[in-house]
């Protein structure tokens, strides 16, 4: 019986990490419905394949998004390699996975900080980002860039990391993990944090499957899918890979899944550094994709499963390249969690899918 207000949420809002517009119809601080709108960051990057040849386009693919930057260049390279049937040297595969797991660590830490900020716990936000600096320093020392790495290219990687340097990286990560585990205790056990996360934005396993949720968002509801478990590239040389899932399906479960994935990533990096073979790390690529060739590839980005498609037409420009990002799948799940939630939970629900709208809109 109250009167309904419409709150326009976004695209510019201090708590939103990405420009997304939601029209929230609320009544007495409860959201009745939410309609998402995107389209604020659409840059038409997929059309650039007609202007940049397939070797140059990896730089464009990297700049689609700041957080998933290395992931997109890796996915693009893997797709072109599948298109042109190129074999990648073993050492390059290992280095790629090491950088990709570092990318996952920094992305999840960024997300944990944003989540803490969204429910008003700025102290936790600052500490998380302070630990993230360790990873960004590693990026800068190994590739020269903190966020946009330009490390991956078709056929291999741009530069090498020496084995001694790799051992130094592992030591720094170990030190960081010790501090991180103390932070994790606060995150997962503090009562005020729990009161904001437990039970918020619940999606059951059936609904998550119907809405095709991917990534930690889906795994927190019990879906067991992670591209890394199929063993492509260097992931196939891991001793084992355990999926981190939870059955609770609420905001707390999603935070827990992502927080534990950081620890798993550090373990993966340690194992790969022990096993890394010597050898070349890139190669010269000749030729162009043949006409009428198609290739698809999938990659487990920090946000979920990312799908790439490439089509060649015989010239050095690709005919079509398509990236389908995990956030575009999770948007349906997000809208479902927003029905009937409190207004105070809206930023939390938007954040728990870890939206990356700049990837989604390209």
């Amino acid at each position: 019986m109250g009167n309904k207000t419409v709150i326009p949420f976004g695209p510019q809002h201090p708590v939103l990490p990405e420009p997304l517009h939601l029209d929230l119809v609320i009544e007495d601080e409860k959201v009745l419905e939410a309609i998402p709108q995107i389209g604020f960051v659409h840059r038409g990057l997929e059309k650039l394949v007609s202007k940049k040849d397939y070797m140059q386009f990896v730089l464009v693919a990297e700049r689609i998004c700041g957080i998933c930057a290395f992931g997109h260049s890796l996915g693009y390279s893997e797709t072109i390699e599948a298109l042109m049937k190129i074999e990648v040297p073993k050492r390059a595969e290992y280095l790629r996975v090491i950088w990709h797991e570092l990318s996952r660590i920094h992305s999840h830490m960024l997300w944990l900080g944003l989540l803490a900020d969204a429910f008003g716990y700025e102290n936790l936000f600052m500490q998380c980002w302070r630990l993230r600096e360790v990873v960004l320093d590693i990026f800068e020392e190994t590739t020269g860039g903190r966020v946009i790495l330009t490390a991956c290219n078709v056929g291999g990687v741009e530069q090498d990391i020496e084995n001694s340097e790799l051992k130094g990286i592992v030591e720094r990560l170990d030190k960081m993990i010790v501090e991180y585990k103390q932070l994790l205790k606060v995150f997962l056990k503090d009562r005020s944090v729990k009161s904001r996360l437990v039970g918020v934005g619940y999606i059951s396993k059936e609904d998550a499957f119907k809405a095709a949720c991917v990534g930690p968002f889906g795994r927190a509801s019990g879906l067991e899918e992670d591209i890394r478990m199929f063993g492509f590239g260097a992931y196939g040389d891991l001793a084992d890979f355990k999926l981190i899932t939870s059955n609770d399906g609420d905001g707390y479960a999603r935070s827990e899944v992502r927080a534990l994935e950081i620890i798993q990533s550090v373990d993966i990096i340690k194992e790969l550094v022990d096993k890394i073979p010597d050898g070349p790390y890139n190669q010269k690529i000749k030729g162009t994709p043949e006409a009428g060739s198609y290739a698809v590839s999938r990659l487990e980005q920090p946000r979920g499963e990312c799908y790439y498609f490439a089509k060649g037409n015989g010239t050095k420009f690709l005919e079509r390249f398509r990236i389908r990002t995990p956030t575009s799948q999770n948007v349906a799940g997000m809208v479902q969690t927003l029905q009937g939630c409190d207004l105070a939970d809206v930023p939390l629900n938007v954040l728990t899918i870890d939206p990356c709208i700049s990837c989604t809109e390209r």
């Binding site: 309904k4 419409v6 029209d23 119809v25 009745l32 419905e33 309609i35 709108q37 995107i38 389209g39 604020f40 659409h42 038409g44 997929e46 059309k47 893997e78 390699e81 599948a82 049937k85 190129i86 074999e87 990648v88 073993k90 595969e93 059936e206 609904d207 499957f209 119907k210 809405a211 095709a212 899918e225 199929f230 492509f232 590239g233 198609y294 290739a295 698809v296 590839s297 999938r298 799908y307 498609f309 089509k311 005919e319 079509r320 398509r322 389908r324 575009s328 799948q329 948007v331 349906a332 799940g333 809208v335 479902q336 029905q339 809109e361």
Partner: protein, 202 residues
């Protein structure tokens, strides 16, 4: 080691699409992507489905200006890709669960990735089965939640003004599960008057 990711491409014809989609849904596969690519005189569409490791891609072509049925009744996350394909390539889908009517991406030139299709798109829009000529008076009318009982026709009886509308929302009754779509039924808003004036700028 060559990346041994499965690359399965199945060529079908446009009519077989719905039967194949229902088959994947019945077997519990997940819907992954719709990818469009402009070819001479039309658009080549690739629908991808996956079930864990195996992934299969259906490939077919449609001509410029044609309309194909939406799969968002069975796979709710398809609405994103269908809206995007309409904006970028001009392929019209009938019965999308949330239809942004061409305003999803706010592109500055119509169908930028398929320049041949501008005229064909206009013709398709004017003759598409979802076109309605009922104008809703957008003044202070509160939202009334109602369940649409017809299966594919948009419910236009309960107007709603508060949302600055770009989207109209359908429910699909061809699903057996209780929440028939991810978005619960709401009244649809139609902005055809605004849209036709905008389209006149082409």
């Amino acid at each position: 080691m060559i990346n041994e990711k499965p690359q399965v491409f199945i060529d079908i014809s446009a009519d077989e699409l719905m039967t194949k989609v229902e088959d994947y849904d019945a077997r519990g596969w997940r819907f992954v992507n719709i990818c469009g690519s402009a070819i001479q005189g039309g658009v080549e569409l690739i629908y991808s489905f996956s079930n864990g490791l195996p992934m299969e891609n259906l490939r077919f072509t449609v001509e410029n200006g044609s309309t194909i049925p939406s799969v968002s009744g069975r796979f709710p996350n398809a609405f994103f890709f269908e809206n995007e394909t309409y904006d970028l390539f001009g392929v019209r889908f009938s019965g999308i669960s949330i239809d942004f009517d061409g305003k999803f991406y706010k592109v500055s030139i119509p169908t930028p990735m398929n320049p041949d299709s501008v005229q064909a798109r206009k013709a398709a829009y004017d003759s598409a089965p979802v076109a309605l000529d009922v104008a809703i008076d957008a003044t202070e009318v509160p939202i009334v939640a109602s369940v649409a009982t017809s299966s594919d026709v948009v419910d236009n009886s309960a107007p709603s003004a508060v949302i600055p509308a770009q989207a109209k929302i359908h429910t699909h009754d061809n699903d057996s599960s209780a929440p028939s779509s991810v978005i619960p039924a709401q009244a649809g808003i139609h902005t055809h008057d605004n849209d036709s004036s905008a389209k006149g700028d082409n």
